[in-house]
């Protein structure tokens, strides 16, 4: 959590995550080199490594991009999200290796600066099949560098999560540039159908999952419109599982109504860390715990436990005839609101 900054706040989960990523990466490259040597021994090791790192970076970017929608569609994928930034940095490093090897192979034997050579060696922008695809890859790599360089919690905390996340949405520009780099580059020279099919499957997976998650999120953003005495009727008490929350959209943003120990509290659904969905988390050890990275908050005040300083807006509420009515006007972040006790009428049949 955000008590102090370290290069990496290592824990057991992060070590396992990173070892899996690095092990998988080296296994992929070794397998690629081995299969290449068996099926087509003619290319040099430099050429094979250029191909291996290029395909590995593209594969990693696909994995990075599908983790988000997978987690929105099914919480079982949340462990993949926990350390996704390390996966993103790895993607940049592998892409950088591809770029360096390619530059050495194709742009260092002339008398022009290699970077200038990449940008000026091919100027046929009037042709599709001869289009200068290498600058597209360079542009994507620069975006990935920018994202990797600002991936640390230092930048997240100082830029604030909304700005940081808006900046990091440039990954979609990088993805479009990389697909263009591949389609206008290697797919022009290598015509085996398996390459087009593989790229198409990756593209459909990324776009399909994003579309499905987008449709789901859009349905959750429908405003609650039953207003009773300046309060919004969001749900019945019995609709909420113990130590969990009901998420509702009021006044343009989502709130999370938590039920715990015979009481109800309502806070913003947006985690201060990365804007994760707090209402999809649980109350653990008395604290609302974000499902993304485990940031915790007191349910009645929205304050993170000391020594941490994050605070969330809270909402006043009341219970009328077994239903939760929330005042849509948020309290300043960290404002304590006395939890509202409710009478336990019958066993909660919605408990999960």
């Amino acid at each position: 959590m955000a008590n102090q900054y370290q290069a990496v706040g290592w824990n057991r989960q992060k070590r396992i995550y990173d070892l899996t990523v690095v092990g998988g990466l080296f296994a992929y490259i070794a397998a690629f080199v081995g299969v290449s040597a068996t099926l087509d021994p003619a290319p040099t090791i430099e050429t094979v490594l250029i191909r291996a790192t290029g395909t590995a970076a593209l594969l990693l970017l696909h994995v990075v991009l599908i983790i988000g929608p997978l987690c929105r569609l099914n919480s079982k994928f949340l462990p993949l999200l926990y350390n996704r930034r390390h996966l993103g940095v790895t993607t940049f490093m592998v892409g950088l290796a591809h770029g360096v090897l390619t530059t050495i192979q194709f742009h260092t034997f002339g008398d022009v600066n290699p970077l200038v050579s990449i940008l000026t060696a091919n100027l046929r922008i009037d042709s599709i099949s001869q289009f200068p695809f290498q600058p597209l890859g360079l542009a994507a790599l620069l975006i990935l560098f920018f994202m990797a360089a600002t991936s640390h919690d230092f930048w997240l905390a100082n830029l604030t999560a909304p700005i940081w996340k808006a900046m990091h949405m440039s990954v979609y520009i990088a993805y479009a540039l990389l697909i263009s780099h591949v389609a206008l580059g290697v797919l022009q020279a290598e015509t085996h159908p398996s390459l087009v099919v593989t790229l198409g499957v990756g593209l459909l997976t990324v776009l399909g999952l994003h579309a499905a998650a987008g449709i789901r999120e859009r349905s959750l953003d429908i405003e609650q419109d039953t207003i009773v005495e300046d309060h919004v009727d969001v749900c019945a008490v019995d609709d909420i599982a113990e130590k969990q929350a009901h998420i509702a959209t009021i006044a343009g943003e989502r709130v999370a109504v938590f039920k715990y120990d015979g009481k109800i509290s309502c806070i913003s659904n947006v985690c201060q860390h990365q804007n994760g969905p707090l209402g999809e988390g649980r109350i653990i050890d008395g604290y609302i715990t974000c499902p993304w990275h485990g940031y915790q908050y007191e349910p009645d005040s929205g304050r993170a436990p000391a020594p941490f300083t994050e605070c969330l807006p809270t909402f006043n509420l009341k219970i009328v005839d077994g239903r939760v009515h929330v005042n849509p006007k948020p309290n300043p972040p960290g404002t304590r609101v006395e939890p509202v006790a409710f009478a336990v009428s019958e066993p909660n049949i919605h408990g999960r």
Partner: protein
Amino acid sequence: MIRRLRRAHLAATIGLIAFVPALVFTAVSARSAETVVDPTPLPVGDPASLAITLVDTMHTINGVNILTTVTTDQERQRLVLELAPERALRLPDLLVYWSTGTTVDTGDLLGSLRGAQHVAFALPSEAAEQDGQIIVYSLGHREVVSAFPLALRSSMGSR
């Protein structure tokens, strides 16, 4: 995630769905429509007049068999080297030299060799008078990939 970002996220997804598949489709379609024309002329004259075969043998370059033929005309004025790979060469940057030495530094550049393309080069007139060799050189790797001798003096005199 806050609602404004969710909307931006959805807009980005719609943008990708609209743009990227169309780009891939266009790129894949274009590769079969545009033919790459080799701008390098083959200065070998009329092939029909090259009636006399001086060399007709097989060499191997980077694991690919190459049918190597040297032909000349009745007057023995022109010498033409033809290289016909059995299948595509995987090296993209091969240059063909005729040289009296063992390096390309003192040789004559004949032209480039790529893919499964059959190529014909005009040999310098010195090739009829001096023994030399054909050197296949990788520009990117700056190394000789293959070299084989070309001795035409006896052939030129005997026919």
